[in-house]
């Protein structure tokens, strides 16, 4: 048998591969919710919430090539708007006491963050690369400062933030109030993540998606080909912000409080999301989930290394054995990130695909020689050596193949 094996799209082997992948992930989630302890499930729910935000970031940075460090800003806006609505700080004509049901805040948050995202998208028309990244970073920190500004304290809670709200599972879920809170957020985050992923992969393979990828790969050429840069950038920034905002709202509802100094609402949060996106694999549909899980669970592992005083041994004779080493957890996580960047530069999903393509390639049903050749090229060693842009281009110019590739 000659490697790589070639299967046509839509063939039974292709479908079997997809079923295996989705079934495997489904089984994992099922086992998590039935067998994991509450703490593990809580971490997984956190990872899913971050994965939603990373899905949003992936849309603008991964697929459209606009480096954004502004997504913690959208995350924060989502969190604060949700908190403001459920605690009745925003006047609403049709509600007693202005108190919103937590679930209904999500669509509102999406609309608000979409609007803000469109505005943030406007500078992206002129700014590129690090310039755009820094401007969006200042946006994030400006949002944080805005929520702390004492003149708006009545609405935003100011520096003390907003506390004392809750999102207990509705009765129809059959979940048992507070005891099943973590399960409820797990299901909620999983549902929204699935929804958002379907939305994004649908978008990416639509006309808009092709325009996005064109803008990323060569903006000038895209404009020449008739892509409306203004609408693409503002609309995609808006969508991307809306998704991150919904994640922020979930984060706040799970945490039961918002406070502008919570690190994820600032520079740290933007960096977290970017790291999760790159680690999972930019412009990969499974990237956000993998990256977010890496971030949450590996960070948890690193912290647990630092928590154990017997690990003070790493500093040898400099400290007494059994001393709590402050910062050891951070050092471990930092080193893991450096190693990851060195050995898995295309991200987990991107690199996995290259390896997978050495064994199995999915070809379109009506094999057009040129496309089949490109797909094979990506998979056979040659692809491993190309830089990210090229690999991503090959992978993404044919999004169907992209999706199928992961699935097989």
């Amino acid at each position: 048998m000659q490697l790589p094996l070639r299967y046509a799209r839509g063939s039974w082997q292709h479908w079997a591969g997809r079923v295996l992948l989705f079934g495997g992930v489904g089984l994992f989630m099922y086992r998590a919710v039935t067998e994991w302890s509450r703490s593990g499930l809580g971490l997984l729910a956190d990872a899913l919430i971050i994965a939603i935000a990373v899905t949003g970031l992936n849309l603008i940075t991964g697929y459209t090539g606009q480096l954004s460090l502004g997504h913690a800003g959208f995350f924060a806006i989502g969190a604060f708007v949700a908190a403001m609505l459920v605690t009745g700080k925003v006047w609403t004509p049709f509600l007693d006491d202005n108190l919103w049901t937590p679930g209904w805040t999500l669509p509102v948050v999406a609309v608000v963050c979409f609007a803000v995202g469109m505005v943030v998208g406007i500078p992206a028309l002129r700014l590129k690369g690090i310039y755009l990244a820094l401007v969006t970073l200042v946006f994030t920190e400006a949002v944080r400062a805005f929520f702390k500004y004492d003149r708006f304290e009545g609405v935003t809670g100011g520096a003390t933030g907003i506390k004392g709200f809750n999102y207990l599972p509705p009765s129809w879920t059959g979940l048992d109030g507070r005891a099943d809170l973590v399960k409820w957020f797990f299901w909620l985050a999983l549902g929204i993540l699935i929804l958002v992923s379907i939305l994004v992969s649908g978008l990416v393979r639509s006309r808009i998606g092709r325009a996005m990828i064109a803008v990323r790969d060569n903006e000038t050429a895209a404009a020449v080909m008739g892509v409306n840069l203004f609408s693409i950038k503002t609309v995609v920034f808006g969508l991307s912000g809306a998704i991150a905002g919904v994640a922020g709202a979930l984060f706040a509802l799970k945490l039961t409080l918002v406070e502008a100094d919570v690190p994820i609402f600032g520079l740290f949060g933007s960096v977290t999301l970017l790291v999760a996106m790159v680690v999972g694999g930019a412009a990969q549909s499974w990237g956000p989930l993998v990256g977010a899980m890496f971030y949450v669970f590996v960070n948890d592992f690193a912290r647990s290394v630092g928590e154990d005083p017997s690990n003070a041994i790493v500093l040898g004779w400099f400290v007494d054995a059994g001393t709590q080493l402050n910062g050891l957890g951070g050092v471990v996580f930092g080193i893991l990130l450096i190693l990851f960047a060195r050995f898995v530069p295309l991200g987990a999903v991107g690199t996995a695909k290259i390896w997978r393509a050495k064994a199995v390639v999915v070809v379109p049903k009506i094999a057009m020689p040129a496309v089949a050749g490109a797909a094979t090229g990506a998979g056979t060693g040659e692809g491993a050596g190309t830089d990210e842009t090229e690999a991503a281009t090959i992978a993404s110019t044919d999004p169907e193949a992209d999706e199928a590739g992961t699935a097989t």
């Binding site: 002129r126 590129k128 990244a133 820094l134 960096v271 910062g327 951070g330 050092v331 893991l336 960047a341």
Partner: protein
């Protein structure tokens, strides 16, 4: 008038710190096109080195020189050991690696030097009475000294870039790596040197800041943020721009605190966002940056 002068000098002194950070970022950006997220933390390490040396009796200025060499070595090895091995300098992977370095160095500082804040002696006279009175305004010698350090560094950098072979090679590599390689410049060495130079400048920023603020592992977090904003404001490839950008931010900060009643020091970043947008929408490469398309 006297208040205005005092605020102006304070603003320029704070701005000089941001300018130094921005200069370091610009030197790295010109050599390898990256934003060095770990810049500030390497500076903090240098400040801790100064602290250790002065505690064991070394003169402050000697300690600073030694610390700058340490900063140079750390930054150079980050380029050589962490960044260069990454295949094709994949931009996403480089960002992740640099964030790893940031976290690692920051936490290593805490592990080695502990978490308690300490005092760092100033190289300038810094007692309560060390001020000069100009037009009836008391101006602190140490503040003026920081501004002076920035000016001297600018002159030295200018001489380095225009009057030495190494400087010429650095400019050539910044301009075009392939051609530089062809004319026999050891590009790898020049890149390492660029990062090292930036590391040394970063240490200078930290040891100028620490005496007035107290030295702890968090020393450079906010100056790094403002320094990178300064670099973008002035143009990422322009040393002059970095300095101008830094000074603009410092003075803006001082004037917001001093003259705008309804905004406090905490509202600097929203104001900076407005300034940044106003400048960059007119000049997308910053005030002094050259108009070239950067891909990330």
């Amino acid at each position: 008038m006297s208040l205005f002068l005092e605020r102006m000098v304070n603003g320029l002194a704070d701005g000089s710190i941001y300018a130094l950070v921005a200069l370091a970022l610009v030197v790295v950006f010109r050599s390898t096109g990256q934003l060095n997220f770990a810049q500030g933390e390497i500076g903090t390490t240098g400040a801790f080195v100064v602290s250790t040396l002065t505690l064991s009796g070394w003169p402050v200025w000697v300690s600073i020189v030694v610390a700058m060499v340490v900063g140079l070595l750390i930054a150079a090895s980050v380029e050589r050991v962490v960044i260069r091995p990454i295949e094709h300098r994949n931009p996403g992977a480089v960002i992740v690696a640099l964030i790893g370095v940031f976290l690692g160095v920051n936490q290593l500082n805490a592990m080695i030097w502990g978490v308690d804040a300490r005092r760092l002696p100033s190289v300038f006279p810094d007692g309560a009475d060390d001020f000069v009175t100009v037009f009836g305004t008391p101006l602190r010698v140490a503040r003026l000294g920081v501004i002076g350090v920035l000016v001297v560094l600018l002159v030295l950098l200018f001489l380095l870039f225009t009057r030495t072979k190494i400087g010429l090679a650095m400019r050539a590599v910044a301009n075009n790596q392939e051609s530089s390689n062809l004319v026999g410049i050891r590009v790898g060495g020049v890149l390492v040197l660029g990062w090292g130079l930036a590391g040394a400048i970063g240490v200078l920023a930290a040891v100028m800041l620490a005496p007035s603020a107290g030295l702890s592992t968090t020393l450079m977090l906010s100056p790094f943020l403002l320094g990178s904003v300064a670099a973008v404001l002035g143009g990422l490839d322009s040393p002059v721009g970095a300095v101008v950008g830094g000074l603009i931010i410092g003075v803006t900060e001082a004037f917001i605190v001093g003259y705008v009643d309804f905004l406090g020091a905490d509202m600097l970043l929203p104001v900076m966002l407005v300034i940044l947008l106003a400048v960059l929408l007119l000049r997308p490469s910053g005030l002094f940056g050259s108009e070239r398309v950067e891909r990330v």
